[in-house]
Amino acid sequence: MEVVLDRDAFLRGLQMVQNIVEPRQTLPILANVLVEAEGETVRLTATDLEVGARVGVPARVASPGAITVSARKLAEIVKELPAAAVALRVGENATVSLRCGGATYKLVGLAPDDFPAVVPATPASWVTLDARTLREMLAQTKFAVSHDETRYALNGILFTFQGKDVRLVATDGHRLAISMRSLGTGVGGASGIVPRKAVNELERVLGAGEDVQIAITDNQFVLQMPNFVMTARLIEGQFPNYEAVVPKNHPGKLVIGRSVLAAALRRVAVMAEERNKPVKLTLAPATLRLSASSQELGEAEEILEVEYAGEELTIGFNSRYVLDAISAVEKDQVVFEFKDGLSPGLIKTVEDEGYCCVIMPMRI
């Protein structure tokens, strides 16, 4: 194999796949990135058997071929190189020589034969959506993903395609976030739980404007962009019946500016107990009183004028959960719905129906 690439394009490509490589690996070859040259592209592939990604980088291919080299070292090297042409050549015994300007490197590689295949069987149907929309939906659900490893079905985001709707759901048992968008076209029917690592990678690679294609196959989630494909193994198991958890027709509706509520919550939570940061919300017509107290430290209180017309009630929440839920939206006005002091609260945005977050109250 012998190729010449542009250093900047090479680095961008490496950065898109390199994060997938885990520092500690069970199979030595998984610490490597697979470099394949064919036609006018060099394909870079990395995988940890859970998430895999492949990116195409334009290149001048003098002779096609394939090799694997340490992903970390290759990225480190290319990062330090000047913006010039980088020449790669595979020599005897899987050694790779790399030349750029006056700098030369010799890297010990591994034969590509044992590198696990990343690219999936072609999915039956793709769902096309805007990268920005997908990014937004991820941000609106990711915070609720559980970290409890014994409940593995909750360690990811549930993707559901149904009718014309794409829906993302995450929960950790204390809160539940749902983000839904209606697309103009039908999306078929499929669902699967995408693990947290894949979600993080998705967020990293999604750009600003372009359209992306996603699909759920029997066992994989697939993302496709021009010159890029990423696959992730789905989580096995049954996602809870989340629809039953979302309260309908809560009578009390509080409408408040997101930044106002967030700032007041942060101020009051300073005095809350360290572990769960519980904050008490006392609602009366047109006012919201936020208070927190801790036996050793003292207490804090703040009164806000709000739009609220329901009955008087007092309810306690983990303030972090409320902050997470309201930071995930872009619109400034949020609606906070209540029934009584012991029923879950529901956070939505005023205009957009696509997002909601259910938060279990705390006894205070």
Binding site: E50, E149, Y152, N155, L234
Partner: protein, 280 residues
């Protein structure tokens, strides 16, 4: 069939074949037998059957082996709780290519501390499409709670080498105790584990049977050739038939007692003092 390549373990292979053919697979297996009896090779062949491919480095085949601690590469090799947690994380994912995932835990008795406890939930009820194979030397090496969740497959030592070695060890011990007396007896039975004690009792039991046969004038073929027959006859002269029958009975009782949690040392001391010193 990858399993066809496994020689010398017809019973284990037949059992696995039946399970594969019936399609009703246990989700957890324990391959129990001495090292060198082909447990790992069988486990890998079984995995190849389950995955429908024996390509090396199949992404749905996970082999867990004891590793030294992260901070000290020269430390004791063990299967630590971190490895079990990683296994659980992998098991929670859908298979990458095949219809299921297979996890082979080699030297499973090297699970330390909390690792077996952490493993229980997954062993009892693994995520769908998961098959776990534990490889271990002795049943008792793992808590009964772990083993009870597994379908046990026994592997015999190849070509009876282990049995011959055990018999030689037992006879050596007998000769030493006869030559050096009670002190040697007590010294040699110190730090004796249950499995070894059972092996020794079995060997003495067989030796007792051979002595009785020799005493009764059985054909040399029954006791392993004329040379051994002559040797046995010489030794048997020192015993009466009734005494030999009593010896066999003592062996039987020692074996039963060991199975019922009598201290291995005590069980063997009683037997040896009878056999070697004629006191019990």
């Amino acid at each position: 069939m990858a399993l066809e390549r496994i020689q010398d373990q017809p019973r284990a292979v037949a059992l696995l074949r039946r399970a594969l053919a019936s399609g009703r697979l246990a989700h957890a297996w324990a391959f129990v037998g001495p090292p060198g009896s082909g447990r790992t090779a069988t486990a890998l062949a079984f995995a190849a059957e389950l995955l429908g491919s024996d390509a090396p480095g199949h992404p749905d085949l996970h082999v867990i082996v004891p590793t030294p601690p992260e901070t000290n590469p020269k430390g004791a090799r063990a299967i630590r709780i971190g490895a079990i947690r990683e296994l659980e994380r992998q098991a929670a994912l859908r298979p990458a290519r095949a219809a299921r995932k297979v996890f082979v835990v080699d030297d499973a008795e090297r699970m330390t501390g909390e690792a077996p406890q952490a493993f229980l939930k997954t062993l009892e009820e693994p995520p769908a499409a998961t098959v776990l194979v534990l490889i271990l030397q002795r049943r008792r090496a793992l808590p009964a709670t772990v083993l009870s969740r597994c379908q046990v497959v026994r592997f015999e030592a190849r070509g009876g080498e282990a049995a011959r070695a055990r018999a030689a060890e037992a006879l050596g011990l007998l000769a030493d105790v006869r030559a050096k007396g009670a002190d040697e007896l007590f010294r040699r039975t110190e730090r004796l584990d249950r499995e070894r004690a059972e092996g020794l009792v079995d060997a003495f039991w067989l030796h007792g049977r051979d002595l009785l046969l020799a005493k009764a004038g059985a054909p040399a073929g029954l006791v392993g050739g004329p040379a051994r027959a002559a040797e046995l006859t010489r030794e048997a002269d020192a015993w009466t038939e009734a005494e030999l029958v009593r010896t066999l009975d003592l062996c039987r009782r020692a074996r039963a007692a060991l199975a019922r949690n009598v201290t291995p040392r005590l069980g063997l001391e009683v037997l040896l003092s009878h056999l070697a010193l004629r006191v019990a």
